[in-house]
Symmetry: C2
Subunit: 408 residues, 2 copies
């Protein structure tokens, strides 16, 4: 279905415009979200020591109270831009605040793109003013959800939007998330830009808890290239316009809300992995039989980050030796003589390694399976009850092409 047929939660108006910040002419590169009422807000930000100006500003604003607007640009990360960069982020918050009659502290600012280059404020200002005008006087030609989701894309090849809904005492509650991300993707939190809106009334502390619980098994289990960005954030705004009773940690609805929020996070995560720079395949690395979750995650991440595993998958090569080598150097105290490794796609599964050695599988059949666009690599350590799934993609010529010439 068309993006604009996706159910938008009540109380949010979006816009996206082309402001000439991105290199590609005419590409939408400035987006604004306006909430009709101040929203309970929760967010998680990059753990990179190098934090872009908008991340520093938004962290402060989120901690202060309710949020009523978001402004985001692509094409320039406003990272490593010194005092001037901080000033640009603050000026853009003020500009949005003035145009939409909210306080500057109620505005979240986000940027994504090239690092270390001053963000051209004149262009940004022009974009912000036009986006605000669209929010104030939408026309029937506007496709605001599509436009906003395109305005945050960099090397993404597709916009990424997911919706979910449920009933809360007869009131329909919707959650819609919009993400960008394709390269410089690696946890821990955060690994891209994600804006989630819900019309649920949700208490702020519980919203933060629900977001954290949603992010841990999704965005924090995602790696494209092992590089953690300077600009990443995942945020959720709750407008309360669904009319439901405010959800807190004690509410009966807390569970369904958390579930649906986690589902949105997970589906966006998969969309990002599938659209990883240069990727031809979505790959899920599932580790079972680990001592605990941390161990399972460590093993899955080592495999998901291995350039040798990822190039073998690109080449349709059932080279399980590289998988077990990555398991071996993961840092987790595995027993190689108990490790099983299988490849799965659809409802087919081939065991390539049993108790550390080749059980005699058909290379031809395995190669056939590897030609699929969605693969699962199943690893059983047989050491305990815990499991973890990491989402990644293959490693291809496309990645080299994109990143050898990203700025030039």
């Amino acid at each position: 279905m068309s993006n604009d047929q996706l159910k938008m939660p009540k109380g949010f108006i979006l816009a996206g415009v082309a402001a000439g910040i991105a290199r590609k002419k005419g590409k939408l590169d400035v987006g604004v979200i306006y909430a009709e009422q101040p929203c309970a807000a929760a967010a998680m930000f990059t753990t990179n020591r190098v934090k872009a100006a908008p991340v520093l500003l938004s962290q402060r604003h989120i901690s202060k109270g309710k949020i009523q607007a978001v402004v985001v640009n692509s094409g320039n990360a406003n990272a490593c831009t010194g005092k001037e960069g901080i000033n640009t982020a603050w000026e853009s918050a003020k500009l949005v605040a003035a145009g939409l009659q909210v306080k500057p502290e109620q505005v979240i600012v986000a940027s994504t793109g090239v690092i270390g280059v001053p963000l051209p404020f004149a262009k940004l200002k022009n974009g912000i003013l036009r986006a605000i005008a669209k929010i104030q006087r939408p026309t029937t030609n506007d496709q605001p959800l599509t436009a906003f989701s395109q305005s945050i894309m960099t090397t993404d090849t597709v916009p990424k939007i997911v919706s979910a809904s449920f009933n809360s005492n007869g009131k329909k509650v919707s959650i819609t998330g919009i993400a960008k991300g394709s390269g410089m993707i690696h946890p821990n939190m955060a690994t891209m830009l994600v804006f989630i809106m819900t019309d649920a009334a949700v208490e702020k502390d519980f919203l933060q808890t629900a977001l954290k619980n949603g992010v841990e098994p999704s965005f924090n289990m995602l790696t494209v290239d092992g590089d953690t960005s300077t600009n990443d954030m995942v945020m959720v705004l709750a407008s309360g316009q669904a009319g439901n009773k405010t959800i807190t940690a004690q509410s009966r609805e807390s569970k369904i809300f958390s579930q649906k929020l986690s589902q949105v996070c997970r589906e966006l995560t998969i969309m990002i992995a599938r659209d990883g720079e240069g990727a031809t395949k979505l790959v899920e690395i599932m580790v079972n039989g680990a001592r605990n979750f941390a161990a399972a995650k460590q093993v899955a991440m080592a495999v998901a980050k291995s350039s040798l595993v990822k190039t073998a998958i690109f080449g349709n090569d059932p080279n399980w030796g590289r998988v077990i080598a990555a398991i071996g150097y993961s840092g987790e105290n595995v027993d190689p003589g108990r490790v099983d490794i299988a490849i799965a796609a659809g409802n087919r599964k081939i065991l390539m390694c049993r108790n550390g050695i080749d059980p005699g599988f058909s290379e031809v059949q395995a190669k056939k399976l590897l030609h699929g666009k969605e693969l699962k690599l199943l690893i059983n350590l047989k050491q305990g009850p815990a499991s973890a799934t990491v989402y990644t993609c293959d490693f291809t010529h496309g990645y080299i092409d994109i990143n050898a010439s990203y700025r030039t």
Copy 2:
């Protein structure tokens, strides 16, 4: 100069033959080193939990006492091959021992190549017998040093041999190291196969200390693709035939011996980085101003492992933003506002980032510098006195080509 004009230490005889284990027809793939006398021996082995059969066997033999022979094959790693693999390694040690009239426990066994496929013992046996015959009856046509160094190559494009020498009380002492390694290269120890021979008389404990000290700033500071192999070892054999007084930790010569051994390790490390799979450039990541060595190494390694940094270097893109992003997620508590980043080649140097921001450098000049085959990335954290250098290479289409089709 031709490899065989390199000075060989006294007391060693080498051979390399083609046994049909490697896929490429006629490629030399079995090598043998014979020491005329039992040698003091030291070695370091892979830290991968998955250890190949020859690693397990050689660890035992090194711990038992002197070593008199080495047998190595390429084309098959004899890793993840179960009991049969252990048996194959032991049988090959016995075969070498019988042919050269030494004890099986005095034989080091090494393998490199594809993981998880049984090593064809009949082919190996044939190769070992022919290599022994060459050692026993060398002809004037033989180029044993070249042949041995070729017999251990896999995706290497050049053989890697380094010699050094010094005088010990009027006796000339030589050290020659031979390495293989191009992919699946990442510390900690070990990251490839390295065989070092010296005619010095060296006490075993000191030899192990000197090797460890030589390996830490060289092979342990090397990464091609972040993948630690299952088969790696660095070993040194000391024949004592130079006639010098045995070197111990207390000897006056301990310092010069350690220096020369470290020099051999360092030069081989650089040869491996330059010959990294698909590499077009040798890159040294030098971190200064760190609190301590571990911090410096952690930052240098994060940069050296970043796919985004390595593809930018391939594309001649002076994208220092990716470098500072990698510094930021390295895990070390850096202050981004104090970081300097420069690129250097030959005697030219361009500062791309000063105190975390662009000081206004010429992109054109930086691009020109990046076209060189040997680059230094200079990072100053301004937090303390420590420094570290990591050796790596760029990340190219060649790497994808080699590793998408390694087995097929």
